[in-house]
Symmetry: C2
Subunit: 385 residues, 2 copies
Amino acid sequence: MVVCPKCDKSDFIQLAGFVRGRQRFYCKSCAYHFITEHSDRKSRKKNQVTIIDIAERLGVSASTVSRALSGKSDISEVTRQEILKTAREMDYQPNLLAQGLILSETHTIGVIIPNIERPFFASVVSGIQQVASEAGYRVMICQSNESHQTEVANVQALVASRVDGLLICHSIRTETFDHIKLQHRKGIPIIHFDRVCNEIDTPKVLLDNEGGAFLAVEHLLNQGCKNIACLAGPENLIISQERESGYLKALQKYDISVRSELMIRGDFSTAHASEGIERLLSLPQKPDGIFCMHYKNAIEIMVKLKERGIKVPEDICIVGFGDESLTAMIEPSLTTIHQNPYLVGQKAASLFLEKMTGSEESQISKTVIVAGELIVRDSSSRNKV
Amino acid sequence: MVVCPKCDKSDFIQLAGFVRGRQRFYCKSCAYHFITEHSDRKSRKKNQVTIIDIAERLGVSASTVSRALSGKSDISEVTRQEILKTAREMDYQPNLLAQGLILSETHTIGVIIPNIERPFFASVVSGIQQVASEAGYRVMICQSNESHQTEVANVQALVASRVDGLLICHSIRTETFDHIKLQHRKGIPIIHFDRVCNEIDTPKVLLDNEGGAFLAVEHLLNQGCKNIACLAGPENLIISQERESGYLKALQKYDISVRSELMIRGDFSTAHASEGIERLLSLPQKPDGIFCMHYKNAIEIMVKLKERGIKVPEDICIVGFGDESLTAMIEPSLTTIHQNPYLVGQKAASLFLEKMTGSEESQISKTVIVAGELIVRDSSSRNKV
DNA sequence: ATCCTTTGCGGTATCGTTACCGATAGGTAT
DNA sequence: ATACCTATCGGTAACGATACCGCAAAGGAT
């Protein structure tokens, strides 16, 4: 783009004939005639070493250098060592842009998550990076901030960067999946994790919400609880449904009849938790165990119970869901279901690698389910030895 | 690399003459002669649309398409609109590799942090991404995992990807900075944040540890505390030194004499916290306020105090450092210094952008100090209204 | 001694995009 | 009418790396 050297604007530039074969310009804004300087690409970014620099220094061709660096090909060991030595000396860093362009392979995978600040996703990302980097892949991370539009933009940006694959956890507001389908049709490997899209046949990593909830409630039963309440989330939220299902299955297994007044549905908010515990404590037959679908609610409830002089776990046992850093530090420490987010990331990355290296016939889209783990702590430990 | 079509090995391949101008090969492993098929690059990744595809469809040249897409240049509005329309229809995504190669500018910044799972760094990254994406930059994140070697590898990978700049928080084990100096000499913009390197003249974002500690201790004094203890970190750790300095300055300002027995140094561990509180409570003149350099220690101490029946904040006020999610949820909620990590990220990204757009003479390496914020909660609120 | 391999390396096209230079048709001033 | 502009577009050479092809010299077999 031509910019006026006087006013730095580019919108008012007009061509104004030729001078000695060079284009002459006119800036309408500041009424100034000028001829562009060559933008001097040579001197601008001549800081990085190329294989040509190495070749010239050693008096060989660029092909030879390329062969030497790529490891194995028609090249003598002597020449190879010499080239490697020179490359090290000159601090040669291969230009991955050029490499990616010619090989149409960037060794980079794109990851889209709602928000990196949520510990769950931070761990997922960490798991992905560990597996990816061991396989020689770089990772590019984008946050959708739970916005559909941003997610679409993220997909486009990653595709434009020619990532080799896409690992994605959809935003909560993503309802149409055209942006994913488009790339899937183009043949870009896509792996879903956590919040998946069932309209597309992709490998997926799912959390075993039902199983985790089952473990939690079964544990409460084993602690001797008979009346187990459930502090749930919104009825239309899938994870809430799954965890509720686990809750019910556990009760069923131990032949405990379901008391509908013990099921408190809400929105995971603090207000909901306060109100819920209020309601539970006003029941004629109070609960002796509470399964909270969110660790935050669990902690809030414990505070409320303490204020009323109700003892945890002696009077009421509490189990949460999701193991954040502080659940172990509070008093009493919270028994909870650890969701293994790091493992989720590892699995997702592994699925991608399988898809890349896998033979043609093994291209069935696998679904991996990551089980939750029960971490027993004080908030539910009645049988202390 | 040539691979045997029978046994898929590449290490045993020998050349074996020419047939119709094509190289003939011999596999020593499976005793098989063959001629390579052309690796058919055409059909391999012909999934992405290029400007040439658009050009052919419209019967114009690639130059024209490029001009149309780049926004403003010698092109008629009619043609431009037509090209833009076709580009949208074909879901054209510019190849950023090719763009980066020719422009020697990738619009990508590399970020190196010790660990994304630490909430502090997750927030920093989030802040960086927000500012960067608004300026049209992508972000590539690497974790050093507190390893010098990994950090060096990260730097090289990012440089190989030709990022436009590097934002880095050094690992705790980084002692030599040659890997950074090298890139700095090459002219790659480098911004330091949090754990900086003073051997290189780079823009930096620092945390005001001293100021934060001062605020915390001053707050304790205002709450009427007279004997303020300090649960510190290792003596050789810089952040520990700075926070100690803030502690001392606050005492000095209010003419409180320093009692050395109230300064407990340790390693931030749980054991250290337990031992520290033990020691403090056995003093003839017990503290009535404790400043903890780590929020984790603060919470641990509060648990200990509760066990002994000592009331917070009535008997002892507690202030922590670092505002994690759960500090607000516990009982009593913890007064703490919020370090504004998101802001740190924003500032770091802004410094990078300044360096990129800034004029030649304004290339002085600025240092920005991000102040901590006192978040007053129950653990120190004696003057309740 | 002749012919065929093998080894080791150089040359060129190519990836997708942009910068630069030219070229052409039509417009405008003299 | 002539000379000179202007607007708009095409062609080509890069960017850095690799794949493919070819070729000369040395080695080996008959």
